[in-house]
């Protein structure tokens, strides 16, 4: 066979897309859900029924400050997040090695709110950028991002001549392979700008991990053992009491040009009030520092300059924390379509090779992994949501059990796909898993209404959105199952 640019890049697009696509689908799916991470946490903690835009009172700030001082005396390192329209509680949090946990206060009364232990939407956010494997996972996600960009560039080159016709070509009634290819190209072309932007800005966020500013020779040099610091002796003096926070908030807002304050960090001699991520499209870490214990303004720290602003804009575009509700939905829809591009690419890869492969073991493993990713992950996410509402709210270790059930369901889906990989038709593996998505997704509103009727009434928009996503997943699964029958 004569090797042309198109065949060579077609091979790269197919194989790079398939091998990376298996994990990229998971990254995109969880990233898409992370657009509504705060709302998901609220859905998963129905005990928290504080309405959006509840006013923040001095009483609540004093109650939070008292708890912070108490925890500082115990040697715990805590921080305070301020209420926002998406997360209206006043939270005193610390990191427990896996997630941020702590006490939630009602911003109106300062009364602590007892909520069920759950990772909530944070789980999807953490999974999205670390694959739950810390820095190694983040580096892997970055590398996958670059390979995805390679796949997109090669895909654009091979379809360059037909880019415009591809936008209007969707022949679902044609041969099944043709229909899948049309759908892949149509969505791929329409959402190309978003997909490029989100992958590129995602890799820029952790650029240091894959393109460190260290000469390559230094990267492979053995690490020197850390020498103990010879600074001044650490004093065990008790931390001073905190000043009233309300006046500091007003001063910080003025110092940061009217931007809202997102969170407060506490150190032994000062406290730092950081601008909220939602205060603009530039995601900054600008902050105002106040001395302790008198609360005197020490100064503000900002990062000026066009390069810093470019980086902040890229971070802001990726995290979309500034985005109002409408734009957030657009992000969600675009994320769903980007996930669909990758998933349809996986299915196309399998369909194209089914006949030629002679159902060899490698092909069967590939199809099993595709099923585990495309249908197994949605099932396990729905199991995670169901377990959140079904496990007793006061049960100890329920957050770990929820995560365990998610992975348990995913492993079961993988096992199911592997079992069916020995049969001649893999539709026997796709169909039951699609039915499972339809059952779990379609049943989500019923479960929500039965288990948390008060929360459904008081926070109907959040619950309608989440339950609607379940129903949407069910409809899509049923449609896909119907197409398999044909």
């Amino acid at each position: 066979m004569r090797e042309t640019l198109r065949t060579r890049l077609g091979w790269l697009h197919a194989w790079a897309g398939f091998l990376v696509g298996l994990i990229a689908t998971c990254i995109f799916m969880t990233g898409t859900l992370s657009v509504f991470d705060e709302e998901m946490t609220r859905w998963m903690q129905p005990e928290n029924q504080v309405p959006a835009n509840a006013p923040l009172t001095d009483t609540a700030l004093d109650a939070a400050a008292a708890l912070i001082h108490e925890q500082q005396l115990r040697g715990s390192s805590v921080f305070l997040t301020l209420p926002s329209p998406r997360s209206p509680t006043l939270d005193v949090l610390h990191y427990d090695g896996q997630k941020f946990v702590g006490t939630l206060f009602d911003p109106r009364s300062g009364v602590p709110i007892t909520v069920r232990a759950t990772m909530g939407g944070t789980f999807f956010f953490t999974f999205h950028y670390t694959l739950l494997a810390g820095t190694t996972g983040t580096r892997l996600v970055d590398i996958l991002g670059i390979i995805l960009l390679v796949t997109i560039v090669s895909g654009v080159v091979i379809h360059l001549r037909a880019l415009v016709p591809d936008i209007v070509m969707l022949r679902l009634s044609a041969a099944r392979l043709r229909g899948w290819l049309d759908a892949h190209l149509l969505v791929g072309v329409l959402f190309l700008p978003f997909t490029l932007m989100i992958i590129y800005t995602g890799t820029v966020v952790n650029a240091n991990l894959i393109l460190p500013a260290t000469p390559l020779t230094h990267l492979f040099a053995p690490e020197k053992p850390e020498t103990p610091a010879t600074g001044p002796a650490v004093t065990n003096a008790a931390p001073p009491p905190l000043p009233a926070l309300a006046p500091l908030l007003a001063t910080a807002r003025r110092s940061l040009h009217g931007r809202e304050i997102g969170f407060i960090l506490f150190s032994p001699d000062r406290l730092s009030l950081y601008a909220s991520d939602a205060s603009g499209p530039f995601l900054t870490r600008d902050h105002a520092d106040f001395s302790l214990p008198d609360g005197h303004l020490l100064g503000t720290t900002t990062t000026p300059g066009p390069i810093a602003h470019t980086i902040q804009a890229m971070h802001g575009l990726h995290y979309a924390r500034f985005a109002p509700l409408g734009l957030r939905w657009l992000y969600f829809l675009s994320g769903l379509c980007a996930t669909g591009i990758i998933a349809s690419g996986l299915v196309l890869f399998i369909m194209k090779r089914r006949r030629a492969s002679g159902l060899r073991i490698g092909f069967r493993i590939g199809e099993g992994l595709t099923i585990t990713t495309v249908t197994g992950l949605p099932i396990s996410i729905l199991v995670f949501l169901w377990s959140n509402h079904l496990l007793p709210a006061t049960m100890t270790g329920r957050d770990r059990l929820e995560t365990g059930l998610l992975f348990g369901a995913w492993i079961l889906c993988a096992g199911h796909a592997a079992l069916h990989s020995t049969s001649t038709s893999m539709n026997t593996a796709w169909r039951p898993q699609l039915v499972m998505i339809a059952l779990l997704g379609g049943g989500l509103p019923v479960l929500d209404i039965v288990t948390c009727p008060h929360a459904v009434r008081s926070l109907w928009a959040i619950h309608a959105g989440m339950d609607g996503m379940g129903v949407l997943a069910a409809i899509m699964a049923l449609y896909a199952r119907r197409q398999l029958r044909g």
């Binding site: 066979m1 090797e3 640019l5 060579r8 890049l9 091979w11 790269l12 790079a16 670059i146 960009l149 390679v150 997109i152 560039v153 090669s154 080159v157 590129y200 890799t203 820029v204 650029a207 240091n208 894959i210 393109l211 460190p212 500013a213 000469p215 390559l216 300059g305 390069i307 810093a308 470019t310 980086i311 890229m314």
Partner: protein, 79 residues
């Protein structure tokens, strides 16, 4: 089989050469300030996928990226 072997070899060498060039862009930008280093990373990350595809697409592409890399190293050594 031989075609596949060539392609796998091609993509591996394309990745290595492109990464080395992208990394040299970052290293070249360190000297000025932390901000320019970040700018170097932004540009290098944007170029990396294009360089990989360029390297893989033809031997002329691989050669031009190698030459570009060599030039970048020379400029770095001279300046």
């Amino acid at each position: 089989m031989r075609l596949t072997r060539n392609r796998v070899g091609g993509i591996l060498s394309a990745c290595l050469v492109s990464y080395a060039l992208a990394h040299s862009m970052v290293i070249a930008s360190i000297s000025a300030s932390a901000a320019t280093m970040q700018l170097g990373q932004i540009i290098a990350l944007a170029c990396l996928p294009v360089l990989i595809v360029l390297c893989f697409s033809s031997s002329a592409g691989l050669l031009s990226v190698c030459m570009g890399g060599g030039l970048a190293v020379l400029v770095e050594l001279v300046s």
